[in-house]
Symmetry: C2
């Protein structure tokens, strides 16, 4: 089996995984058990990955991280709103 | 500025980000707003990334993903236990 194919499967899984969380958060409007630190670090990291992809001209890195940035930043802004509104931890 | 340095900062942020979530989940024992699909896909993806790193002899890929696997699988098993016990969504 092609080793690169394993890398592509892994990339697809980790990239797509944030969409079900964003959908759940959209549906329930609940971020109580979600860590603000996690989404702050992760969303910043993904944005910097995308910048790294742009600066180094790496298409797959731009694509995967640009894509993940959508659900990650959605969950982050929801968590920030809830924290500001309800003093949620 | 060295473009690679930007990649290392991004890698550090996305790798470390799952630890605050695991610590929050450990402290509160609450996974109510966490998506089971997200942690199933993400943890599988990270495990496959680590396997890809082993098969291709890529040290940083093994290290980053082996490290992320710890908090991700911790949150996943908590979510599965809660789902089984309480029929939590």
């Amino acid at each position: 089996m092609d080793v690169d194919a394993i890398g592509y499967v892994a990339a697809a899984l980790t990239t797509l995984s944030f969409f079900p969380q964003a959908i759940k958060t959209l549906r329930t409007d609940d971020t109580h058990s979600i860590s603000l630190s996690m989404y702050s670090l992760f969303t910043s990291g993904v944005a910097i990955w995308a910048a790294f992809g742009l600066l180094s001209g790496n298409g797959p890195v731009i694509l995967a991280n640009g894509f993940t940035l959508i659900p990650a930043s959605f969950v982050l802004q929801k968590k920030i709103r809830h924290r500001l509104k309800a003093g949620e931890r």
